[in-house]
């Protein structure tokens, strides 16, 4: 059984959760985006960012959650150097306060099997500061250094029920969640640390082990795989699994026990006296529903129904918003849609993009250029082989027409030339010609032979037509 606790930074707002400090803290010198509020200076008071609440409510709607009647804010008390006030303002399901939204779900499909993953709750909370260890690591450093630029950045905390059975389900879920969050303009996941995951894992009814602070979806897969093997191994040897918190060591790809036994935390949750609950009216929710963009599932369905795209490619295209937007932009310019374009983007172009980050597709391969390329392909001016060969040159900024000229690529579509080649192939493959007369499927073999002879420069559709014509003549 696996359950997840996911922290997603709301990066697509301009200010922090409770103060008007700019929230684009990445790459900025330490402690330059801080103010009395996010430093917890005596006397400073938090004022909630309306936009964050709106985005969190949109997310709740998208995840089919039951939304609370009011936005409640609670304090979670624990002392730690990254937490200026020594309490975190968050939301909490308890006496007198409640989570922002509860009891939702996401449907996923793994190996053709559909599964519903239940989501227990969504909370908004503030991110703590960032700690660095100047003299060694977390265990050995003589003191720590803290950058509070991250302090007060809004987070969505999303907690699932323990509905997963393996790492594949987890990664499929997380990818879908990621895409939904992208579509809602909540977060830019190309930013380091924008999604952080804690996984609760237990095997064979054993104790629950929490693996904390995993930084990427592929690391989550690795961590879960590692932890399942470790726990099964312990059980098979007749050992107990300790209920503990483990740390994911991304460099060594293992989980490590935090070792030090802490006294059990007592967070002393209480409603924040500075933040009266904010009513969430039905009108407001209706207003938000109107803002709801098309979500990945609906988008995929549209591609399948109106673009004739295969289910498989549609699911890949919509797994990232930037990818889907890109596909649509190229399609809009070129007028071409469906598998041919989708496949070229997913199977060919994306491999040339660093980390396969679809956001970078836009800069590296401007949609106009790819629209031109895909048009050339579809109109038989270039072959798929050429289209693939073009990619590194396009990446250098060359135009498709320049490349064709430079490479002297000509697609043979002259009927007379092709007919000559076809006749040649017919002579060399008499048995195949006989087969083809009886069985249309065998025609492809002859097409392949023609392509070989022309170094794949023959226009495949034309070749096919000529073969059919000549076979009928015989």
């Amino acid at each position: 059984m696996i359950g997840l606790e996911i922290h997603i930074q709301v990066t697509k707002v301009k200010t922090k959760l409770f103060c008007d400090c700019p929230s684009d803290y990445r790459g900025k010198p330490p402690n330059t985006h801080v103010c009395p509020v996010c430093l917890g200076l005596p006397g400073a008071l938090p004022v909630p960012n309306k936009k964050v609440i709106e985005k969190a409510l949109l997310a709740s709607l998208a995840l089919n959650m039951k939304i609370a009647e009011k936005v409640f804010w609670a304090r979670k008390h624990y002392f730690y150097p990254d937490l200026p006030k020594n309490y975190q303002i968050t939301q909490y399901d308890g006496k007198g306060t409640t989570s922002l939204a509860k009891n939702g779900w996401i449907d996923i499909e793994v190996n053709g099997r559909k599964k519903r993953i239940r989501i227990r709750r969504i909370n908004i909370e503030e991110d703590p500061g960032r700690i660095v260890y100047p003299t060694g690591n977390i265990l050995t450093s003589r003191y720590v250094l803290v950058d509070y630029n991250r302090s007060g950045i809004p987070l969505l905390e999303i907690v699932t029920e323990p509905d997963f059975t393996n790492e594949k389900e987890v990664s499929t879920f997380l990818k879908k969640l990621r895409s939904i969050m992208e579509h809602l303009e909540i977060s830019d996941f190309s930013l380091e640390g924008s999604m952080r995951i804690d996984a609760n894992i237990s095997v064979c009814g054993g104790n629950r082990v929490e693996v904390k602070n995993i930084g990427s979806i592929s690391d989550v897969e690795d961590a879960i795989r590692y932890e399942i093997v470790r726990q099964k191994d312990l059980v098979s040897k007749g050992n107990q699994i300790l209920q503990e918190t483990r740390h994911w060591d991304a460099a060594r790809k293992i989980t490590v026990s935090m070792r030090v036994k802490e006294t059990e935390e007592d967070y002393r949750y209480m409603p924040d006296p500075n933040l009266p609950p904010l009513p969430i009216t039905e009108e407001f929710i209706e207003e938000l529903k109107k803002q709801m963009p098309e979500l990945p599932d609906a988008r995929a369905k549209r591609y399948i129904v109106t673009h004739g795209m295969s289910e498989y490619l549609a699911s890949i295209i919509v797994s990232r918003k930037a990818l889907s937007d890109y596909y649509e932009k190229v399609s809009e310019i070129s007028g071409i849609k469906g598998d041919k374009l989708a496949s070229y983007i997913v199977n060919d172009l994306l491999g040339w993009v660093p980390e396969e980050d679809p956001n970078k597709l836009w800069e590296l391969f401007p949609p106009e250029i790819i629209a031109e390329t895909i048009s050339l392909l579809v109109n038989g001016k270039i072959t798929i082989k050429m289209a693939k060969e073009m990619i590194p040159l396009l990446k250098e900024g060359k135009k498709p027409s320049e490349i064709i000229e430079e490479k002297k690529w000509i697609v043979v579509s002259d009927e007379k030339v092709l007919e000559k080649v076809v006749k040649e192939v017919f002579r060399e493959n008499e048995k195949a010609v006989e087969d083809a007369k009886k069985n249309k499927k065998a025609i492809q073999y002859l097409v392949g032979k023609v392509m070989e002879k022309t170094e794949k420069r023959a226009h495949p559709k034309k070749v096919y037509e000529i073969i059919v014509r000549l076979l009928e003549k015989d």
Partner: protein, 100 residues
Amino acid sequence: MEKREIKIDDELIERMMWLSKLRLDEQEREKIKEDIRLLLNYISDILEIDVGDAEELLYPNLSDNVREDIPSTEEKGREHLKNAVLENGFVKAPKVFKGE
């Protein structure tokens, strides 16, 4: 609710000290025990109040103040950290690992 007897012993004082991150010496511990006994006895009077089904009241004024997402033009940064010790712009803080 019934007035419940809470045992004020070393264990309770130890727990209070841990919760509030306050260290007291031996002498102070004895003194705080007596103070806690006095105060706890006093505030425990509220357990005799019949609160019925009254809802909790924490906010005397149910204002609905939120903020638009507009970054400030005011100065932000290290001028707010003059009371901290800085090292390369970072705030210096005690180490986090409690073991040796």
